[in-house]
Symmetry: C2
Subunit: 141 residues, 2 copies
DNA sequence: TATATATTTAACGTCAACGTTAATTATATG
DNA sequence: CATATAATTAACGTTGACGTTAAATATATA
């Protein structure tokens, strides 16, 4: 299992080292293991998660605060799916799942709104592009 | 032709008055006519343009600086399309049009990248949603 | 026309999301 | 193993995008 140092992660994810430490500081990113000397050692899972975070942030336009909720929800779902957290009582479990369902449903709703809006903007931009093309065609030689 | 005051515009566009003045200040919005007393009087065109700006900004994730370039290009195209700016020489005209073409083509490219990314994020979110649904179904009564 | 409400400019304040710097310690390399 | 390069924490700095306040007009309304 390979290890990556912070600069490797930064380059692969297109972020700065400061940003990565900052994300860890505010609890957006899992703290990685450390070497004996204290150097952060990342795994591929960290890199993948970081990429997902920046991707989601970019398309959703969320603040880092909002991203924490987003990430928190998806982590809970991942944990559950891997078989952890199976010890609580039924009512508690159901309640938590229903809350997760509502959160993720809301996220889907936001995403779909974004999709609709971006389609609209694309349409308007496309029209502009065609106008420029037309103007170029109509230019006398 | 109706006139709107800044608070009407703010409400319809979902912005604050400060934001609208700020956009005008940095040249993102055309300065509207004023009453004799100095009160800003907006037309429907202003409102429509402002809505387009906020829409595009939201989906593209542009900074206000980047939006200026975006708006500047679309304004040039609109002017041209309405028959202004027809007096320069052919080479100059062609050069400008080619530059506009490149700018708008780039915008389309960015939009399509966004669309691809958002589709990816939607897919992952959808998977999470299904997992929650599944977990709810598998809950013993 | 008096008065309440809204608008204007100017200036300073704020907050998120990092950037930058410095001093210190780790790790890699000839 | 010496030394160059990289990582760490801590702290202060910066920047974009407005918020807020104040003092002076303008506009709307009883």
């Amino acid at each position: 299992m390979e290890n990556y140092k912070i600069d490797d992660v930064a380059k692969e994810c297109g972020l700065t080292k400061r940003t990565i430490r900052y994300y860890e500081e505010i609890g957006l990113l899992f703290a990685p293991d450390r070497s004996d000397g204290g150097t952060r050692l990342y795994s591929r899972a960290h890199i993948d998660q970081l990429k997902q975070i920046t991707n989601a942030r970019e398309v959703l336009g969320f603040s880092l605060q909002e991203m924490q909720d987003y990430v928190s929800a998806s982590n809970k779902i991942a944990e559950r799916h891997q078989g952890y957290l199976q010890t609580e009582d039924r009512d508690q479990k159901r309640k938590e799942l229903l809350e997760l369902e509502s959160i993720v449903a809301h996220q889907l709703q936001i995403i779909d709104q974004k999709l609709a809006k971006i389609a609209e903007v694309r349409q308007m931009t496309e029209v502009r592009y065609q106008r420029v093309q037309e103007a170029l065609k109509n230019l006398p030689e």
